[in-house]
């Protein structure tokens, strides 16, 4: 019998499975960081994790609170300057997967982490793009992970912090962007992939126990489900233990206790 697990754990573990041993992965903070490190600690021990602080090939024992924690540097193959990171490693085309979170996301994988409302007189001023605009255009492909909410998954983003597939179709290529863009969205309820032609995200699999209604109820656009809709494989005992141990070590370290 499988252990019970939370939607958040399912999201992180499903995301981790998308990463391979040979991937060079540019890691955003939060959920992407957990997924990338679970992958490293399970099926992809040789994956290269890069954080925008300049740490290349890092293998943290605990999850960093920020993208510049000391743990990332201590365990990295090397740590380079931030200009070098963005010029040689990201812009240089050396990164296979960029893993991003989102405050607002639309069905074409466009991400907003800049403002809610008008840019010049925003309702809510969010932190901004950081590395995301060029992560989105320079990495071979983009994986996105976020929890579903009506506020987060919207028909149209208030601001194009980073470009996904624009208004769909060939928008991306038309702008002269040669990378694939968003190829995967993993939420706490489902796994989505873009339609090959329209580029709209289509639900490929529902996490165990999730219904189509639940997905639609927490998504601001009309959801498309794949004809061969499947159920996401449940987390294995190893995956769950790995994630929970990682979170426990992280909790202990960040509250000042020995891990």
């Amino acid at each position: 019998m499988d252990a019970p697990f939370t939607p958040d754990e399912m999201m992180t573990i499903a995301a981790s499975r998308a990463l391979g041993n040979d991937d060079i992965c540019f890691v955003g903070i939060g959920a992407p960081s957990a997924a990338c490190n679970v992958a490293r600690l399970t099926h992809a021990p040789d994956i290269t994790l890069i954080y925008e602080s300049g740490t290349i090939g890092t293998a943290p024992d605990i999850l960093p609170l920020s993208i510049g924690d000391g743990e990332l540097c201590d365990t990295a193959v090397t740590t380079v300057s931030v200009p070098e990171m963005f010029r040689y490693w990201l812009q240089g085309g050396r990164v296979s997967v960029g893993f991003l979170g989102a405050a607002q996301l639309d069905k074409f994988g466009n991400i907003n982490t800049t403002v809610i409302g008008d840019y010049n007189s925003p309702t809510i001023r969010l932190p901004g793009g950081g590395g995301a605009p060029e992560i989105a255009s320079s990495c071979g492909e983009i994986f996105i992970t976020m929890k579903q909410t009506l506020r987060g998954m919207v028909e149209a983003v208030d601001f194009f912090t980073s470009f996904g597939h624009g208004l769909g179709g060939s928008d991306r290529a038309d702008l002269g962007i040669s990378t694939k863009g968003p190829t995967l969205l993993i939420t706490d309820l489902a796994v989505w992939r873009p339609d090959p032609t329209t580029k709209e995200f289509v639900v490929q699999s529902l996490h165990p126990g999730v219904t189509q209604d639940m997905v639609q109820a927490t998504c601001g656009w009309v959801v498309r489900f794949a004809d061969d809709l499947s159920v996401t494989e449940v987390p294995t005992a190893l995956e769950l233990k790995t994630l929970r141990d990682l979170k426990a070590r992280t909790e202990a370290a960040h509250s000042g206790e020995a891990a």
Partner: protein, 285 residues
């Protein structure tokens, strides 16, 4: 040529009202003590530059010292938003704040171009991104060989840059190790540079030949401030005070609470307070 002096004197001599100033640090080595001294000296009408403005810029904005900010990510790392900066942008409190917003790639390139003495940085970026529609300092430049359209932004050239580093040697050369961020570029791009350090050592004989070292003639002032990065951290000295970052979210959420905290923890003290703040954070580093 670096002179060793007190932080008070270094700020007084190098930071003027109306300056373009960078207090740089990428999570690591953020020059909190220097920023607090600038707050105590009540500098006005500053243009702040930083890739990742966090708590110190939130404090300076909340204190009404800032006219404009040039940045690429304004958050409290691992915690959330910057509430004083939001209050300025959304409600003009305590005054309006002009923003010039970029991506990290653009800012990193702009510092690099500044260090390289160039008027602008050229890179491949902002494709499809909304910022180029709201920021007139994001333009295009065409490769004269391939015809490719590339992005251009003005280089960053601060009047003065403040950084925190691990060590100076007795001559005034500066050693930075670990996550080095854009600090070398921020110093070299600036007209003047003030460096706070954890300690002064005799020499750098045992340091790696390719380590990140700023020669003494590339900096203006060196000030010893042990713990001067707190609640940020100094690789090899003390770890990040995550609790302080979480606490800041509460302090900054209320204007009165913010002002009280600033009075007690910044205005009424001096940089000598920092050494005590890192007491429990050593050892783990």
């Amino acid at each position: 040529m670096a002179k060793f002096q007190s932080l008070k004197d270094a700020v007084a001599e190098n930071l003027n009202d109306g300056d373009i100033v960078a207090f740089e640090g990428f999570t690591h080595l953020i020059p909190h003590a220097a920023a607090h001294e600038a707050i105590r000296q009540d500098r006005k009408n500053l243009t702040l530059v930083r890739m990742t403005p966090d708590v110190v810029y939130d404090q300076m904005i909340g204190m009404g010292m800032v006219d404009k900010i040039i940045f690429s990510y304004a958050g409290n790392p691992g915690v959330g938003l910057l509430r004083r900066m939001r209050d300025a942008i959304e409600n003009n409190w305590p005054k309006a704040l002009e923003i010039e917003e970029h991506s990290h790639a653009a800012m990193a390139n702009a510092y690099e171009a500044g260090a390289a003495g160039l008027p602008c940085a050229v890179f491949r970026g902002y494709k499809g991104a909304g910022l180029k529609d709201v920021n007139d300092n994001i333009r295009e430049i065409t490769c004269p060989f391939t015809g490719e359209k590339l992005a251009a932004v003005p280089s960053v050239r601060p009047d003065v840059t403040f950084i925190h580093a691990q060590k100076a040697n007795k001559r005034g050369d500066i050693l930075i190790e670990g996550i080095i961020g854009v600090q070398k570029e921020a110093v070299l791009a600036a007209k003047r540079a003030v460096v706070t350090v954890e300690e002064v050592v005799d020499d750098f004989e045992d340091v790696h030949v390719n380590a990140c070292i700023l020669p003494r003639w590339a900096v203006s002032s060196v000030c010893v401030v042990e713990g001067g990065a707190h609640p940020s951290y100094a690789h090899g000295y003390y770890v990040r005070d995550n609790a302080a970052y979480v606490e800041w979210d509460k302090i900054a959420s209320d204007r009165t609470l913010f002002r009280e905290w600033m009075q007690i923890n910044v205005l009424d003290v001096d940089e000598n307070i920092f050494v005590a703040r890192i007491n429990t954070l050593k050892g783990a580093a």
